[in-house]
């Protein structure tokens, strides 16, 4: 015990001293391997999965978006759709869609990419054994015909004027129809992407090498991608600071400050993503709209923005609908403003004159999770809404509590076409309807939005939908920057709103 005490005494003086000088040490310089002249980009990914697109959400985007290509991709600079494996696409009525495919594209095994592969990929979404995440979206497909190797005609059961956006979804990467998924599984993933998987050590690392037959001349710029699966974000950032990796996606705003305070790093924010505070409409107390409104009246968006280390309407945005502020479909509805008295009155009207306690579930290791949860607890307390915070690691949160809680906070990527998100999460039959919303008018508007050909009319439906959400919706949409930590040596890092990083453009200076 005496030795232990002496040790602790020493610690008392050493730990603070080290803490004080922690920031004074120059960060290790980032070095590339010198023995080989290959350009290697090293990434620390938090999600340790290579999953054939569509099977389950939990794939490492940098890995999948490098192995696979999509019919259509997004220009990260303009935000416009850009040709990828499809060179052009058209539809006169939104019902019959023609996609012209790029010729000369080859899969990693050397076989040609043709219309049969597109047909295989899309029909695969309806495989009942697979539980494909886009099954509902593509159930609208009536038939797929392939008049030649480079033309695909998709006939829909109903008119869908924004159908082409579905082709940018991360679950609709083009797969090889020759690949035997039942036999080979994910041992040799077959895509047409800029990099080929050379070695995968599950839950540890993946090595990808340049696809020298890539259809885009001059790309990819790097020779290899070395991806490490590091679930702990602090460890990932330590690797970046030590020069062991070049890219760390999905960092928190506090880590952004830490990196920016050091030399040799930069933080980019390629797009905004949503943090949905979802109130379950089918459970007490949020089955009563008065409680939902009381919750909303207790909010102070400016405080929430500051808690996320940003400024409202600059880095952080807030509204009460599923549509993000930066999309064209967004209707600018004035914020209701914090009104504690009104919140209390609404609670009393709902039968909670003495306030209420509700469990609030969130992923404690997800960027912004803890900050938002603790701030919400403070904001709602004066109105009489006591939040019992239940924070869990992200995998436990998603597997055990998500979709099954009265109040929750979930991170959502933005969909290029908001109707994709609406069908997924706000239609009563949506597979990811986390707030269990079941409002006939909302369902009707979402269905109309999906099928309306006239842009102006569709926008009217969007406007009305957002009004409904403001009046009686189940969500608060806090939009935060998606942050990626990079070493200064990394150039031309692109990641559009589709969430798919385009590492084919990136290179090391």
């Amino acid at each position: 015990m005496k030795k232990f005490t002496i040790f602790m005494m020493l610690g008392l003086f050493i730990i603070p001293t080290l803490s004080l000088f922690a920031g004074g040490q120059k960060d290790a310089e980032i070095k590339q391997p010198e023995a080989e002249k290959k350009m290697v980009i090293r990434i620390a990914e938090q999600v340790p999965n290579l999953i054939t697109p569509g099977a389950w959400d939990g794939q490492a985007f940098s890995l999948n978006s490098s192995i696979y290509d999509y019919l259509i991709e997004m220009d990260s600079a303009t935000g416009e759709l850009a040709p990828a494996l499809a060179t052009e696409w058209s539809s006169k009525d939104g019902k019959v869609w023609t996609f012209k495919l790029r010729e000369g594209v080859k899969f990693h095994d050397g076989s040609a990419f043709t219309s049969k592969d597109v047909q295989f990929t899309l029909e695969r979404t309806q495989d009942p054994d697979l539980g494909h995440l886009k099954a509902k979206d593509f159930a609208v497909v009536k038939s797929i015909s392939t008049p030649n190797d480079y033309t695909v005609i998709i006939t829909l059961k109903e008119s869908l004027p924004t159908f082409q956006y579905s082709m940018t979804d991360y679950n609709v990467a083009m797969l090889s129809s020759d690949y035997d998924y039942s036999k080979l599984g994910e041992s040799a993933p077959m895509g047409t992407g800029p990099f080929m998987l050379k070695k995968l050590i599950p839950k540890e690392s993946a090595l990808l090498v340049k696809n020298s037959n890539y259809w885009q001349p001059g790309l990819p710029k790097a020779d290899e991608l070395q991806i490490y699966f590091v679930p702990d974000i602090d460890s990932s950032v330590s690797l970046l600071e030590a020069g062991k990796v070049d890219i760390v996606p999905q960092i928190s705003p506090l880590i952004k400050q830490r990196l920016e305070a050091g030399d040799g790093f930069k933080v980019v924010s390629p797009y905004q993503e949503s943090r949905f505070i979802a109130m379950a409409m089918d459970r007490e107390p949020f089955d009563d709209n008065n409680v939902r409104l009381a919750f909303k009246y207790s909010m102070d968006p400016e405080i929430l923005a500051k808690a996320c280390q940003g400024t409202l309407n600059k880095e952080i945005y807030y509204n009460e609908t599923p549509i993000v502020n930066k999309l064209a479909q967004y209707k600018d509805i004035s914020l209701r403003g914090q009104d504690i008295k009104k919140a209390k009155d609404l609670l009393a009207k709902a039968g909670y004159p003495d306030g209420l306690t509700v469990e609030f579930y969130y992923a404690s290791d997800h960027p912004y999770g803890k900050e938002i949860a603790q701030t919400l607890k403070e904001l709602t307390a004066p109105a009489g809404i006591v939040l019992d915070l239940k924070g869990f690691p992200r995998d436990i949160y998603l597997s055990q509590y998500w979709m099954n809680a009265p109040l929750l906070l979930t991170g959502w990527g933005v969909r290029v076409d908001p109707s994709m998100l609406l069908m997924l999460a706000y239609h009563s039959e949506g597979p990811w309807n986390e707030s269990h919303i079941n409002d006939p008018e909302v369902d009707d508007l979402i269905t109309k939005i999906k099928s309306e050909v006239d842009d102006a009319q569709r926008q009217e439906y969007y406007d009305r939908l957002q009004e409904v959400f403001f009046e009686r919706g189940t969500v608060i949409n806090l939009q935060v920057p998606y942050l990626v930590g990079l070493s200064d040596a990394v150039q031309d890092y692109r990641q559009p709103i589709t969430m798919l990083s385009q590492l084919k453009y990136a290179y090391i200076k």
């Binding site: 232990f4 506090l254 830490r258 050091g262 436990i396």
Partner: protein, 276 residues
């Protein structure tokens, strides 16, 4: 009492330890009433304020919360859980250790093997696994789990202490008098073995503080916004360069409390065992 004071007089480190310990107990009991900030109160105009500015004695964290207030409130939770943990693990450990040692034979083998199995798993790992499965870390669950992790060590100490007295004449005399097993164990033997057991309880108290702080640091301790000292360290780790005080002061709080309890434990050991 005179002996204790005499020992204290010759042991300045013990005086230091007891003073620090009393300071923390005072802070836990009366500190919150004397503070001008609540531990969850967010001063969004002064996020990461340096110590001494805008009325924040030890500065604020990234959410504008007063670090001093959080440390003072945090002393309540850590002292409560640590005290409860050391008491529960000691009581259960004494019951198990005494029962095993007193009855011997199969009972002894059964309890010893069960304790061996538990001891084979590092206490921190055991606590993390159980807390991970339970999912929710409340005061109660944290107390129970850390107690379970610490019980085997206490049980072994208690068993050893009992065995050293089991063959004593006063125990035989009690048996001849027809006293029940319970009376023999806890009225006759326990008072005569209390020295090492009290030392074990105080040592366990120090370990509990370390364990609770470690669990908080690893993210499986008490739920935020409860100001768990270990959690404060990990929460602010990212901003150690920009706001080193948010990590420094909770670390100092943990270290000072552990040292104080260790010094106190040393003193108790000296008085209760060595001098005897």
């Amino acid at each position: 009492m005179k002996t204790i004071l005499l020992h204290l007089k010759n042991n300045p480190l013990a005086i230091l330890g007891i003073m620090i310990l009393f300071l923390w107990i005072f802070a836990a009991l009366f500190g919150p009433a004397l503070l001008s900030y609540n531990y969850t109160e967010m001063d969004m105009e002064h996020q990461m304020t340096t110590p001494g500015e805008y009325g924040h004695l030890l500065g604020t964290d990234a959410l504008g919360r007063d670090v001093f207030a959080r440390i003072i409130y945090g002393s309540r939770s850590i002292l409560t859980v640590a005290l409860m943990t050391s008491l529960v693990s000691s009581i259960v450990g004494i019951l198990i250790g005494f029962t095993a040692g007193y009855f011997g034979s199969l009972v002894d083998t059964f309890f010893l093997r069960a304790m061996d199995i538990l001891m084979a798993i590092p206490p921190l790992v055991l606590s993390m696994v159980v807390l991970g499965i339970l999912g929710d870390s409340s005061f109660l669950s944290l107390t129970l789990i850390v107690s379970i992790a610490f019980t085997p060590a206490t049980a072994r100490v208690a068993r050893g202490a009992l065995l050293s007295c089991k063959g004593s004449e006063y125990v035989d005399a009690a048996r001849i008098r027809g006293e029940s097993h319970f009376i023999i164990m806890f009225v006759e033997i326990l008072p005569n073995t209390i020295g090492p057991i009290i030392v074990e309880i105080t040592a366990r108290f120090a370990y509990s503080i370390m364990m609770i702080a470690s669990l908080g640091f690893l993210g499986v301790g008490l739920q935020p916004p409860t100001p768990d000292w270990g959690m404060m360290v990990i929460e602010n780790k990212s901003i150690i360069r920009a706001a080193s005080w948010t990590v420094l002061y909770p670390s100092l709080a943990i270290a000072s409390l552990v040292i104080a309890v260790s010094l106190f434990s040393d003193f108790v050991s000296k008085v209760m065992i060595h001098e005897k």
